[in-house]
């Protein structure tokens, strides 16, 4: 999907402003909507479509099934949820009611009216559904979340007139549904990972014929994919784009490429959410009286969400189910998930990447592997040299050995330059003295609690000091402090209204690449992921956005001002679920595609390694 359909659709719009969340801009929106006309069709188009095919049998219908794209009361879209049979297959549809059903005349409801149809689900084959999560909060409305095999999820459907029980009862008659072992509120649909279950289902289910029908038509990912992946809910490990196009090629009853539509739909829906977020925040501040109620509602929503987060965690990574999810995390990214995290690169896998001379044959595949799983600790010493650009991927063992010898000599030469500066020389060499003082001061304050650097007179500390000083001497213009120029998550508007646009609260994240936010082991993994530059050389910025998005509900709900926000973000240290943050960032990166890349201002420092025109790290030698 990255750089593909999404970007193609957006390119039809006018030039982009430098704004990471601008894939929600109206113009792009319109372009995307135009490109995916059938998803945006109104109720009447459904009927028209039906004329052309076989008749349908509606077996379930419920009014007042509502989407809450915003927490704002006026932003609700009420509609009709239906299950129907067509040509032996079961489909789900949701159509918004015509006209605004809220009495509000605010601009936000106008906006909703304008875009409400983008939420329409015309005919979703149940064979595409991975699971349905049912929520029955103590306070508030019951709702369900439908998650597709591709990993996409639709926004929650709230049942104002009840009817969830009937819905499941109806579903059970036509498709194979089982309760998840991990979470009693999760109902797995079409879960054929277990052959025994599969055969049992054929005995038990009256609707199995339609299922088989659907399966033969779809012949895809979740059913034929490896058992492991399916089990872990990671069906689209092989890439959203490929699975979608695969899906598309099999969907013969649709006229245009549904893979394309599906991805555009995701983009649309995602952008709709971000747009609503923006609108909500702006109206929130116009209407202070409503703010408190909003906060309360938010709170309930959060409580509820915590449970679902926990579930999600368990579902995706059962092996980590014992790790409690961060208590502060609250705001899930609802529409797209990043892929399942992989295990670290093993020695065997690493060896398999190398040809007999020691060249890395497929560097892209290697970087992909590291992006998704990191590197086994014993390999770090070796693999990091490639990731960081010290070694070329296509260099041989012999070439590397030679290069290393040269580099060592170079290092010693530069080191002797500053070592030979006498105390009297240093007195007249202010810049050197200052720099040395700074490094001396910092070095003793670096990770001294990590055993490697622990204790007084630790040789490793001396080595680190030497390295830093030599490096700073070699690359004298490398600033110690680099600010991120611009970063625009969907919270942009809220931040603007609260004078938080300087993003100082993200400063530490970016400056030291999340070093203080995670444990030492976690940070090695994260840095490897960043160094791959696999999806973006600015992946760390997406990570910032992903983390902020997770907490958007709280930030806005609690009306955090600059001080509170800064404190809140600071205190997230040690609380962030790294795997999930990476997955979220990956999803954001995929959704933003090239638009994401183009809205990051030129000159924004990438994460290491820093590539320059002349290759990695080549910089004019400005020593003295």
């Amino acid at each position: 999907m990255r750089g593909g359909d999404a970007a193609a659709a957006a390119e039809e719009g006018p030039p982009r402003s430098p704004d990471l969340c601008d894939f929600s801009d109206d113009s792009d929106y319109a372009a995307a909507a135009a490109a995916s006309d059938h998803t945006a069709m109104r109720t009447d188009s459904v009927d028209r479509g039906l004329d052309e095919t076989a008749r349908i049998d509606v077996i379930y219908e419920k009014e007042r099934v509502t989407i809450h794209p915003t927490q704002y009361g006026s932003g609700r879209i009420s509609g009709k949820l239906r299950l129907f049979l067509q040509q032996g297959s079961l489909f789900l549809s949701w159509e918004p009611n015509e006209g605004a059903d809220s009495l509000s005349t605010s601009s936000i409801s106008v906006e909703i009216e304008k875009y409400r149809n983008l939420y329409t689900i015309k005919a979703l084959p149940l064979s595409d559904v991975r699971f349905i999560r049912r929520h029955t909060p103590t306070f508030g409305l019951d709702y369900i979340i439908i998650v597709l095999s591709s990993g996409l999820a639709f926004p929650p459907f709230y049942f104002y007139n009840g009817g969830i029980r009937e819905l499941f009862a109806t579903l059970k008659q036509h498709v194979f549904i089982i309760r998840s072992d991990d979470d009693p509120n999760v109902f797995l649909v079409n879960d054929f990972q277990d052959p025994l279950q599969k055969s049992l289902s054929s005995l038990e289910l009256p609707g199995v014929a339609s299922m088989a029908n659907a399966m033969s038509r779809q012949n895809s990912l979740s059913f034929t994919g490896s058992v492991d992946e399916t089990r872990h809910g990671a069906e689209d490990r092989h890439g959203g784009a490929s699975s979608m196009s695969q899906y598309g090629s099999k969907q013969k009853h649709k006229s245009n490429d549904p893979g394309r539509d599906l991805s555009i739909q995701v983009l649309e829906k995602f952008s709709l959410v971000t747009k609503f977020a923006r609108d909500t925040t702006s109206s929130l501040f116009r209407d202070n009286s409503g703010a408190h109620a909003y906060g309360r509602q938010q709170h309930e929503y959060l409580l509820d969400n915590k449970a679902s987060d926990k579930h999600k965690n368990q579902y995706i990574t059962p092996e980590k189910a014992s790790i409690p999810s961060a208590p502060l995390e609250s705001d899930p990214l609802p529409l797209v998930w990043g892929k399942q995290r992989d295990h670290p690169l093993t020695v065997e896998e690493w060896t398999a990447f190398l040809d007999p001379e020691g060249r890395v044959m497929d560097s892209k595949a290697l970087r992909k592997k590291v992006f998704y799983g990191g590197v086994d600790h014993v390999l770090r010493k070796e693999v990091w040299k490639f990731l960081l650009g010290y070694h070329e991927y296509d260099s041989t063992d012999a070439e590397r050995e030679y290069l290393a010898a040269i580099k060592r000599a170079e290092y010693e030469a530069i080191k002797s330059q500053w070592k030979s500066i006498s105390a009297t020389q240093a007195k007249r060499f202010t810049k050197f003295r200052e720099r040395k003082g700074l490094i001396d001061k910092d070095v003793v304050r670096t990770d001294r609690s990590v055993s490697y650097y622990e204790g007084d007179d630790n040789r490793n500390v001396v080595v680190l000091r030497d390295i830093l000083l030599t490096y700073s001497f070699y690359n004298f213009d490398l600033g110690y402090c680099q600010l991120v120029e611009l970063l625009d998550p969907p919270l942009h508007n809220y931040f603007r209204q609260n004078d938080c646009l300087n993003y100082f609260f993200c400063f530490r994240w970016v400056l030291i690449q999340f070093k203080r936010e995670f444990s030492f082991d976690q940070i090695m993994l994260l840095w490897e992921v960043l160094w791959t530059h696999y999806l973006s050389e600015h992946f760390h910025l997406y990570l910032c956005v992903a983390i902020l998005k997770r907490y958007r509900q709280r930030i806005i709900g609690e009306q955090m001002d600059f001080d509170t926000l800064l404190k809140f973000i600071n205190e997230l240290s040690g609380q962030i679920n790294l795997d999930r943050a990476i997955q979220d960032a990956e999803a954001l990166c995929t959704i933003a595609g090239e638009n994401g890349a183009s809205c990051i201002p030129p000159g924004t420092p990438p994460s290491m390694p820093i590539e320059t025109d002349g290759g990695l790290y080549v910089q004019e030698d400005e020593v003295l």
Binding site: R445, T446, G479, N502, F504, F507, F562, N570
Partner: protein, 210 residues
């Protein structure tokens, strides 16, 4: 925990003068010689009692490095008190005080109480700034002055509490408009006879009750 007031403090001064150590000593009664370099800002909080009233100090420990200046300037907003720290063993940290005060003047509330602290007074054998110089500088600029040691805890408690006392006095004198949080003072929601909630009324909020 309830409090009568919340005061926002910031700690400022050159890198390595011991800002984070002063905070750690005040909040945790601990000393670490190898404190991690502060990036941006760190937070600490403690309750103290002034005039039988519980007061919560929310302390912003800022990064001292010159490179972070543009960022630390954004932290002054809404601070009721500042601890301006130098290292008595490093002359340059004393020489830079004026520029820190200039930052404070430009970015902080005009009523902010500034306490000047000459830290590391346990290292008096390596002293590069005399007590008198510190005292003189404070006098010239209208600051409260103290030498302290985060290592031995000497005067640490006093520095924070004395600053709070000065702020409290200013509240009593009606200098602050407590309806405006940019003062760095938030009236709490404790048993506070008449004007507890405080947001609406002005300076009488803190002054009245016993």
């Amino acid at each position: 925990m309830s409090y009568a007031y919340l005061f926002k403090y910031i700690i400022i001064g050159d890198t390595g003068v011991g800002k984070s150590c002063l905070l750690l000593q005040f909040t945790d009664k601990r000393f670490r010689s190898d404190h991690d370099l502060t990036i941006g800002v760190e937070f600490g909080a403690r309750m103290i009692t002034i005039d039988n009233k519980p007061i919560k100090l929310q302390i912003w420990d800022t990064a001292g490095q010159e490179s972070f200046r543009s960022i630390t300037r954004s932290y002054y907003r809404g601070a009721a008190g500042a601890l301006l720290v130098y290292d008595i063993t490093r002359r340059e940290t004393f020489n830079h005080l004026a520029s820190w005060l200039e930052d404070a003047r430009q970015h902080a509330n005009a009523n902010m109480t500034v306490m000047l602290i000459g830290n590391k007074c346990d290292l008096s054998h390596r002293r590069a700034v005399s007590y008198e110089e510190g005292e003189q500088f404070a006098k010239e600029h209208g600051l409260v002055f103290m030498e302290a040691s985060a290592k031995t805890a000497q005067n640490v408690e006093e520095a924070f509490i004395k600053t709070a006392g000065t702020i409290y006095k200013k509240i009593q004198d009606g200098i602050f408009d407590l309806s405006n949080e940019s003062n760095g003072i938030k009236p709490g929601y404790t048993v506070h006879n008449s004007s507890g909630g405080g947001a609406g009324s002005s300076s009488q909020a803190g002054g009245c009750c016993s």
